[in-house]
Point group: C2
Chain length 320, copies 2
């Protein structure tokens, strides 16, 4: 790898509420700046380019010597990433650009650029891992209709399905029948159907009712317990699949995302493969994230530039 002092390296974490940039300069000096929300689907191509132009101007870099890696919410598809990358280069903001999905930067940060796996459980969910030869594999994360198991939204929807079965007597009784409907601000079960199918209950609002499911389970509701166990087991199966594909017999796993952080202990306990599993079940070790996604984006910028990463720690990534 070449010497870092020929370059500025910039990681950007563009999320739903704010966008942060972290630059590494010669001699291990870091600088940071911050702006508003950076979701690609909301801002569009031009909006994101303007946002990044403003951030990079604040950092006062020589763009000919700058490599940027940006993790952009809402830009998960390769075509979107390519389009954004081309636009940033055309604007002359950097000499090299790479755009990644936000999960990719979270993975890189969580394990400080080393091999490991991240299970992100927020409104949605995804499992992503990086092997010793830097290869990346994923499992789950197929969206609310096909996947996202172990996510807040999926727990609430499973809770509502169980509530319906409790309501019509085709499944066991559960306090979720009353508790979820209350939490969602509805009068009763019957008002749920038009609210749900009429589009009045957005995914975020449904996901925000997730604490009700965990509270019910803590209070001994067997249906709620089973829903949590089942979602966590699916996350565990996804982590196992990624570990096998990466040939990691022992894998470091970080639980991230709003739900992964709030209920990580519980999810982790249920994610463990049971004793009776077949022999090739990888051994999973839970570890906290070394760096936030912003740090991961900086590490990916270094990799993209072919430059040895500077020693960055959590404090370097945090504003203050």
């Amino acid at each position: 790898m070449t010497q870092m002092d020929l370059h500025h390296l910039v990681g950007i974490d563009a999320g739903g509420t704010r966008t942060r940039a972290l630059a590494a300069h010669e001699n291990g000096v870091f600088s940071r700046c911050e702006a508003g929300a950076g979701n690609y689907q909301l801002l569009g191509l031009e909006g994101v380019v303007e946002l990044f132009a403003g951030l990079l101007a604040q950092l006062q870099l020589d763009s000919d010597r700058t490599t940027v890696c940006a993790a952009v919410a809402g830009a998960g598809r390769p075509a979107e990433q390519e389009r954004l990358s081309v636009a940033l280069l055309a604007r002359g903001l950097a000499a090299r650009v790479c755009i990644v999905a936000d999960a990719r930067a979270a993975l890189e940060g969580a394990h400080g650029g080393e091999a490991g796996i991240i299970a992100i459980a927020g409104t949605g969910s995804i499992v992503m891992g990086r092997g010793k030869a830097s290869q990346v594999e994923r499992a789950g994360g197929w969206g609310p209709l096909l996947g996202d198991e172990g996510s807040a939204y999926s727990f609430v929807m499973a809770g509502l399905r169980a509530a319906g079965q409790s309501h019509d007597g085709s499944g066991p009784a559960t306090c979720l029948e009353v508790d979820l409907v209350n939490k969602l601000g509805l009068a009763d079960w019957d008002s749920l159907i038009p609210a749900l199918y009429g589009g009045h209950l957005q995914r975020d609002r449904l996901a925000s009712a997730c604490p009700v499911v965990f509270r019910a389970a803590r209070a001994g509701d067997e249906v709620a317990r089973q829903i949590i166990a089942s979602g966590a087991q699916r996350l565990g199966a996804q982590v196992g699949a990624v570990a096998r594909r990466l040939c990691l017999p022992t894998a470091s796993v970080t639980l991230a995302g709003g739900l992964g952080e709030a209920e990580g202990d519980w999810l982790w306990a249920e994610m463990q493969p049971d004793g009776g599993a077949d022999g090739d079940q990888p051994e999973l070790r839970r570890v906290p994230a070394r760096l936030p996604p912003l740090g991961g984006a900086l590490l990916l910028a270094c990799a993209h530039a072919g430059i040895e990463p500077p020693p960055v720690d959590r404090a370097d990534c945090e504003s203050g």
Copy 2:
């Protein structure tokens, strides 16, 4: 009940592809006529009124002596039924009108107006039953996000979820991974996600891939078998719940809907409560539908008018 010869009684079955009317007159004479699609959501209030006006004109009835019961697709909510009923009366088309959901007429027809249960499995699903005192109970049918278990759409979506798990190695291998993607006319698994979330795969088109799941199960695919067993067991649980609520220790059950007719034997075999169930499990006897929904609508018109129903059989309901 009053004498029928004071009245014309009309049943209407307004469905997604055609609308049929069956009128019962004095002395057991029946007349029929037919028109185009009658879905309330597509035609709107005025469109359905016009359609019915045309049908009733063909039947040349004295509207002051006519009672109509219409089962209208897309008019499942009481508010819609009430609005349509008021509009038909205001137009002077009949002396009495009742509007019911299509499942209600199917239930009435299936058991010839006697106590029994219908499990309708088509694109969606619902279980509805009628007790000895004419009370009606339902289970399931909460739509594609919360219910509709055992429906063609739900089997295909479960198949796609299993295909995703096969694809990323977090679940057992299944031929559905290739077969469903092929059947849906997609190039590969990766093209499924944008097609699904971009709205290019409508619910009907997804449901139409259901035979692939049954074919896979017949060919020995264990994942597909499990999906069918699980959906059918949910339908069975719903039938059991309705039988209990109706206090029917022995219940006659009709399987209806496209899937219920095509794969009724298989579904029924899996719906049976297992031997280990608790003692109050109702005994379910499978019976074919006595009358189609059109006949059921006519029986409901009789009940609405308080008139003893004429002896109607399947042939009376069929055009020819």
